[in-house]
């Protein structure tokens, strides 16, 4: 069993590094923690970085999860290798680029590039956003899946994720008490489907809705409230068509023994209890 302890960072390739940096700071509200010639590192919480844009193809997308011990990393590599995944141990230089002590890289069954990292860097300074978006931290990712049942089995059987709820066949998976850290979305491609940052209050969600709308940022879903996690949400499009989400008030599952996952319909009312209709390809039939 691969023990994921937290989602750690997302790496996105882009042809327009300056444009991505501008969106991430002025619109999304992240803080630049470090900038190199070919990459920009963005901070959203106490961690040194949780989002990295690098010069490259927008198809190059990586999601990273943290493991607690070096032994966990070694055990994970052995297990993935046994299952036939192409596992690669990151070089020292690559680990430095990721601000982690050590990491392995592999592809999940859909073909998403996943990294498992050990000892990711925390900062000595707290996060202070470029604008007052109320961000409290990078919280979860939506992952594309070409076979929801197969990928659910991978994340729950090979890794330690548990199903919190399902919307149609799309499983919302938790690895700690937070309702979901990985959301699987059935589609015909691999890649990261959305990137979530938590904000402090529902007021922050609504303020950002108006702030971003005024600046013509394409709104793709919300403001709304998820019946699954009870979080108030807003989805909008960033550079290279990547969907970003703000949400607040996500449900926590404290009692693992008593909690039972629920089935919601794969239609607008399964995604929003206020009546917002998604304009996101993966959220529509």
């Amino acid at each position: 069993m691969i023990k994921l302890t937290d989602v750690c960072y997302v790496r996105l390739g882009t042809a327009d590094l300056d444009g991505a940096a501008q969106f991430a700071t002025e619109y999304l509200g992240l803080e630049i923690s470090h900038r190199s010639k070919n990459a920009i590192y963005l901070k959203s919480d106490q961690r040194e970085h949780t989002l990295c844009y690098f010069a490259g193809s927008p198809a190059e997308q990586t999601a990273a999860f943290e493991v607690a011990e070096r032994a966990d990393l070694e055990a994970a590599a052995a297990e993935l290798d046994r299952l036939g995944h192409d596992v690669r141990l990151g070089s020292v230089q690559e680990a430095e680029l990721r601000q982690v002590r050590s990491f392995i890289s592999f592809k999940d069954p859909t073909g998403n590039t996943i990294e498992l990292v050990w000892r990711p860097a925390y900062g000595n300074r707290r996060y202070h956003g470029e604008r007052d978006a109320g961000i409290t931290g990078f919280s979860h990712i939506g992952l594309c899946t070409t076979d929801a049942a197969r990928d659910e089995a991978f994340w729950t059987k090979v890794c330690n994720a548990r199903v919190s709820d399902r919307i149609g066949d799309a499983a919302l998976l938790r690895i700690d008490e937070v309702h979901h850290t990985i959301a699987l979305f059935p589609t015909n491609r691999s890649g990261i489907q959305h990137i979530n940052h938590q904000v402090a209050t529902g007021d922050d969600v609504m303020r950002s809705f108006n702030f971003l709308s005024e600046r013509q940022v394409p709104m793709v879903f919300g403001p709304g409230r998820h019946p699954t996690s009870s979080a108030r949400f807003l989805y909008f499009e960033g550079p290279d068509g990547m969907v970003f989400e703000y949400s607040s008030g996500v449900r926590e599952i404290a009692d693992e023994l008593l909690y039972r996952e629920r089935q919601f319909p794969f239609e607008p009312k399964g995604f929003c209890e206020w009546g917002a209709k998604p304009q996101i390809k993966e959220f529509r039939n």
């Binding site: 007021d203 609504m206 108006n210 709308s213 005024e214 409230r225 209890e273 206020w274 009546g275 917002a276």
Partner: protein, 299 residues
């Protein structure tokens, strides 16, 4: 002196269309209906909204006072301010389902009615649509001269200013942060009628219902810096706007100190929602001669 905000009476040209709006959009319960009148329930009160057409139709805000003696006292004090009002005839009282009443016009020409023993419903409210309405919450009234109209509300009727947003005065006379808002404007009349809904979820559900019904939302969803109410203001079937509000500060009224918030959208919404209401965008208040507006025009 004021017990509670009781009802709003509006003039409608097309009673069928306005009644349809009250039921289908607001989700209120229809009560009385004839050729010239349609009334709607929103809570324990027999009605809180009346649309009327024809000769007897007037636009007015109804407020409850406890005793007929309060009516006499109010008329006396109004005369002191140079305002003449009138006692309601028995047919006026019957039409409004009250025991006794007086009416007067404020300095701007808004009609206010003070009523005694208005009818409550013995049966609970049953909504036409699940909008989550809890009751009539507030009325925004246009004023040509805030200071003079305010004197009626504070000196005669005993209301208190809870807060200011620009020169708009939020008036309270019960547990709520405000029931009446006087808004600076270039013409008189009721600006909007607001209903309380259960919570944020109901407010936002209504927002999407209104969008589906293609009702123009003119302001919000937002949150008022003054009352901390969540709000949503939208077009009605006449020139009077309607709104849903939820949550907000209550109680502790005596110790509240009126605070000055900015004029315009900044003082009306803490979320930065788009505002398409002329009075809220400050277009009308230029006509008013106030030191504050002069100062602001310099900046």
């Amino acid at each position: 002196m004021l017990e509670q905000l009781r009802y709003v009476r509006l003039v409608a040209d097309d009673l069928r269309r306005t009644a349809d709006f009250a039921q289908r959009v607001l989700g209120l319960e229809p009560i009385d209906r004839d050729q010239e009148l349609a009334t709607f329930r929103s809570d324990y009160r027999d009605y809180t909204l009346a649309f009327a057409t024809g000769a007897r139709a007037v636009q007015s805000v109804g407020l409850e006072v406890r005793y007929p003696g309060d009516l006499d006292a109010a008329l006396e004090k109004l005369r002191g301010l140079g305002i003449s009002g009138g006692r309601g005839a028995p047919e006026d009282c019957a039409l409004r389902k009250v025991k006794d009443m007086v009416w007067f016009g404020d300095f701007s020409g808004n009609r206010v009615e003070l009523v005694v023993r208005p009818l409550n419903s013995g049966w609970r409210y049953f909504a036409s649509r699940d909008a989550g309405i809890k009751g009539l919450a507030g009325v925004m009234v246009r004023s040509l001269d805030i200071e003079k109209d305010l004197s009626i509300w504070t000196d005669v009727l005993g209301a208190h200013v809870s807060d200011w947003a620009g020169d708009a005065a939020y008036l309270r006379f019960d547990d709520a942060h405000h029931r009446i808002v006087l808004f600076p404007a270039s013409r008189p009349g009721i600006l909007s009628v607001e209903y309380d809904v259960e919570d944020l979820n109901l407010l936002m559900r209504n927002y999407y219902v209104l969008r589906d019904l293609q009702i123009p939302v003119l302001h919000g969803p937002g949150r008022r810096p003054t009352s901390e109410q969540l709000f949503l203001t939208f077009s009605g079937p006449t020139d009077v706007l309607f709104g849903f509000v939820a949550a907000g500060t209550t109680g502790n009224a005596e110790r509240r100190r009126p605070r000055q918030f900015p004029a315009g959208p900044a003082g009306l919404c803490g979320w930065g929602s788009e505002c398409k209401i002329a009075e809220f965008n400050n277009h009308a208040r230029r006509r008013q001669s106030h030191e504050r507006s002069e100062r602001e025009s310099l900046t």
